[in-house]
Symmetry: D3
Subunit: 254 residues, 6 copies
Amino acid sequence: MRPNTLRSKIAAGEPVLNAWCAMASSHAAEAIAHQGVDSVTIDLQHGAIDFAAAFQMLQGISTSPAVPLARVPWNEPAIMTKLLDAGAYGIICPMIETEAEARAFVAACRYPPMGSRSYGPNRVSFYAGTDYAGQANREILLLAQVETRRAVENVNAILSVPGLDGVYIGPGDLSLSFGVAPSMDPTDAAVVQAMADVRERARSSGLIAAVHTDGAATARRRFAEGFQFCSLPTDVRLLIDAVKAAVREAKPGV
Amino acid sequence: MRPNTLRSKIAAGEPVLNAWCAMASSHAAEAIAHQGVDSVTIDLQHGAIDFAAAFQMLQGISTSPAVPLARVPWNEPAIMTKLLDAGAYGIICPMIETEAEARAFVAACRYPPMGSRSYGPNRVSFYAGTDYAGQANREILLLAQVETRRAVENVNAILSVPGLDGVYIGPGDLSLSFGVAPSMDPTDAAVVQAMADVRERARSSGLIAAVHTDGAATARRRFAEGFQFCSLPTDVRLLIDAVKAAVREAKPGV
Amino acid sequence: MRPNTLRSKIAAGEPVLNAWCAMASSHAAEAIAHQGVDSVTIDLQHGAIDFAAAFQMLQGISTSPAVPLARVPWNEPAIMTKLLDAGAYGIICPMIETEAEARAFVAACRYPPMGSRSYGPNRVSFYAGTDYAGQANREILLLAQVETRRAVENVNAILSVPGLDGVYIGPGDLSLSFGVAPSMDPTDAAVVQAMADVRERARSSGLIAAVHTDGAATARRRFAEGFQFCSLPTDVRLLIDAVKAAVREAKPGV
Amino acid sequence: MRPNTLRSKIAAGEPVLNAWCAMASSHAAEAIAHQGVDSVTIDLQHGAIDFAAAFQMLQGISTSPAVPLARVPWNEPAIMTKLLDAGAYGIICPMIETEAEARAFVAACRYPPMGSRSYGPNRVSFYAGTDYAGQANREILLLAQVETRRAVENVNAILSVPGLDGVYIGPGDLSLSFGVAPSMDPTDAAVVQAMADVRERARSSGLIAAVHTDGAATARRRFAEGFQFCSLPTDVRLLIDAVKAAVREAKPGV
Amino acid sequence: MRPNTLRSKIAAGEPVLNAWCAMASSHAAEAIAHQGVDSVTIDLQHGAIDFAAAFQMLQGISTSPAVPLARVPWNEPAIMTKLLDAGAYGIICPMIETEAEARAFVAACRYPPMGSRSYGPNRVSFYAGTDYAGQANREILLLAQVETRRAVENVNAILSVPGLDGVYIGPGDLSLSFGVAPSMDPTDAAVVQAMADVRERARSSGLIAAVHTDGAATARRRFAEGFQFCSLPTDVRLLIDAVKAAVREAKPGV
Amino acid sequence: MRPNTLRSKIAAGEPVLNAWCAMASSHAAEAIAHQGVDSVTIDLQHGAIDFAAAFQMLQGISTSPAVPLARVPWNEPAIMTKLLDAGAYGIICPMIETEAEARAFVAACRYPPMGSRSYGPNRVSFYAGTDYAGQANREILLLAQVETRRAVENVNAILSVPGLDGVYIGPGDLSLSFGVAPSMDPTDAAVVQAMADVRERARSSGLIAAVHTDGAATARRRFAEGFQFCSLPTDVRLLIDAVKAAVREAKPGV
């Protein structure tokens, strides 16, 4: 089976920079995947992407060395099965607040006896190799999103679930949950503290501390803080910012 | 009929900044259209876009004040008809080298007696209004691409064709045609001179001088030179540049 | 944030006429939206429409003054999140039978602290404005479908849920639930009585009484009865009826 | 090979009522095809439809007894080949003005030795049967659009081309060509006379006289005049008219 | 209502051979449906297929005599409703392990009073006829997948659920559940015994015993064992095997 | 630039086995590409494939070592440009009958000064590398289809066109052109002789002799005859044959 390079990079202490796709475009996904990022996440929750688009995006990403990941819309096995069968090498699951939810997430993504994932690899066998079924449990990366106050309180229990590889902090929802305006780089002291706590709990458990960011500068800072996996803003956001900047520069007086 | 604001802007001496879509994504097109550009061109020649995607992109752009334009893949009436019926408010036609080609282009896009466009407005009547047919010849913008040495030699004849609104320089193909490497900001003296000549001929004919650029800085310079309409790089290029820059910034040591 | 005009219309006592899309066609949705209806609902339950089509339909509807709504296939947060992020200004949720179900529905569609909607507005910010997140809870319209005997029995409890804007009667399922053949204009006394009861409970609670109809004549009658929001038959039904009528008229002897 | 029932109906003197699809929706096409029309035409010229959508629409229409036809965007062999291979049982070609153009049209659609259609039946063999290649020249219906003054002048020459089955009058373009506003039911004397002349020439040549209409009433009148094949307005138009009428009826005071 | 021919075939003791579609291709589905299989199942669980593709595939299959079935991704009513409304004549539901799960499955697919399926037939009325609603409960085929050790233990309870038509064994997951490597033709004694037990329980209950296979030879053997319904490998698998065999034969030395 | 491995294989005397895609499925294309074929051709002429599908198929094929090729629907530059920009590494052009047609074909696919291909590589730069523009003329493979009697007569002139890499015989159309029934393995003496002549002319000109076949056995024979490049039957045909065979084997008595 093709190895999941994110695992070896993290084991080697290399920072993992993850791109984030919110547009249903395999063209954009392939373009992004070839620019030096370590992985590309297809966002089926807040991204305007469903399975059919994700399938094509997985094909586009698979032409590059970047590892294809997916964020699912909800902690439901149906879509996880489909994305894994289609070639996702990791799943980010939103709104995991309890150990039970984390267990359900892991069970849906691991073959028996580790979990209850149904057998039927499809496109993934072209990407991973025909020995996929026997080794998938070892390579697929599972990250639970910790993004509410309740999840922070339960983070130890969440991190204790066998088969989970790490936690992924969503600073926007976490901010809302703490009663402050959503931000991808929170400054509220309680939120900042919660993020640090979760990061340290994950690291001390030997698991991955991952986080969403509002751009490369924040990502760089997060890596320095000890996060091992940082996501860039969405492709839509990068595009909007680029066009806005171009308008300002090309027509300064307007 | 909804007026084509590009006409009034150019009449008023305002620079027109045009965004350029090469991805088949109505999401990207709509996002771009809302960032302050004057128009958005859907590129069906070098863009990975065909009619079905263009139709959806026209819907996305139509939610914004930006004017929807299309670059056709070739000087053929079938695709021009379809794009105009679907709501394009202007057509950029590649590789116009002779007066006859310019006449054919205009004929395909103007209703009789000015041309021979077939009658059958479709989606465009939602965008333009139900009085479209009677006024379309006055509002639709037609730009002929001048992008070969031969076209430069024939530029006066091309500019003389009634119903044509201007010329659009493609610096890449023009460079190739002059035997130098393709560039969106050519430095070869002969190419630079040809671009200046075409610009001046268009302006002195009372027509529009338009040009493709490699970014906002060049566009700003082109406006200063007298070009009235400048295109930004493609959405794919903006995305690639943004991701590349983010990788460099977030992982400087890698 | 762009205001939800349905709220002001209902506050002013104006009848809201809602079109109903069951075909996965952004062309049809845009065409319908421009004909004077107050809103257009994209039906993801019985309509042959999934998220990808709904996204494009939202773009098409957004070119018009009609308010874009969606009926979700089931009371599940994943699809509600995606549709709201994509620009739906209201959600109709089928088969709400209990207060708990109504609470879950509202929670999925309202940001904290009112609910638990996850933060990540996407396309909606082009339509609504960049101040969407802070004001969405105030503008988004939530209608719970009351369409079973059990729901009718629980209607007071359902109407008591904070954040719910009204109830939407589905006469077809309601008829089945009462043991009679499905009809969009029921004549069974018990069903008729149930519909009247639900309508009056909603009105006396200060909430919206909405209903599906089998056509304009019934809608007109429903408005007179006190319903504030009436849906027309699906686009497919309108098309079928139009073609059938044309066949009868054009070929009378056949 | 499955017989083309339009041929036998016309031979028997039965009027052929043809529906017209301008939306890229296989759902709409299938719905329409089941309402009693004799054929359904997929319009790739003014309809917002390209080959991929037409393929699916052909599948939808093939579930009904209605005969699937296509109007091509232009007199070009590439798209005709693809549509015939995909299961179109007839082609309507726009803007045929000369005998040479009619010959080119026929050549593209008939196998050698009658024409030069390239061999490669694809989906059509499921619909027509595996003996398609040997019998297609006999069953496929070819109608040349006569819709300009020049075409009217050349109608005898056009009708003389072997392998052509008839002419299809486009009243909108014909009106424009005569210098009057486009109408699907022209009242200009010269246009009316031209339509009658073309109809009679076709009938006296033993070929089919077909015409576009603005609705069932006009179609009925056209049948009485001697036209054998009449098209209804587009699906978009039927839908618009139905919604408009419903708005007027449901909200009379608005 | 068009009868479900699978019912009469099984009643007559005829073996039902079912094709299996894992690619989102209505072209493939239609091609397969015309080759003499009794039914074609669209797999939305492990197949790379979602609702939009399934809709088009249902259109393609409906041009043939083969009965259109769907395997849903999970025991959830939303997708079952949509597929039935779109024309599926039967549903195969994965991972049914208990009587309660079987009851929920049946309830989602049967109209009241037998179940709680929501009323709103859509495309299915073109295929089935306009009397669909009243007769659907009698014709639609429901098969529960028995594919875990727990399901085998509960098979009597599952088979007792009114409205269920049979059980469908998934040998791959069943193998995994018994702790052996997944196989579509298991040789492990315990798995073989479980399959025989389930088959006999179904037969003795008067219900259908169905099973997935790894090819025609195994299917033939299964029919001989008493299975009444056997599925072929996926379209992707058939294609892969055909290309592999061609490479070996055409380039033997390579 | 990524080298075109077909060139080195042919230079080394290795047979090139080419798969043929006629379904608009990137899933099928990717599956096929991973089974050991040397190249995969996307057929936009008789295949039910247009540009949008081809783009996705190119992504799927690009995950494998197989070289992506495309057969265009007609000798027109617009579609060739788009396919090359999207990553096709070779073009097969149908119905080339004269030297002039061959020159036009080559001109459309080669950058100046060799031809007049317009500059604007898009997706291809991810696959080929960013040095594509300067080296594309050397790597892209161009094959002209010789498939009529007239083309056979002109084969020397066609082979003399600089920039053309070889000829591709279409036995079906060639048969029709000689007045015999279409066959992918002709037995008519004149056709057989014509095929041998074309093959020998190509080989003695140092160019590639390519041919379509009806299966691996014929391909093997063709390689032995001296053809260097043989295509397998379409994916649809392979699928049909596999299902037919399975039906015969699984239900022998039926």
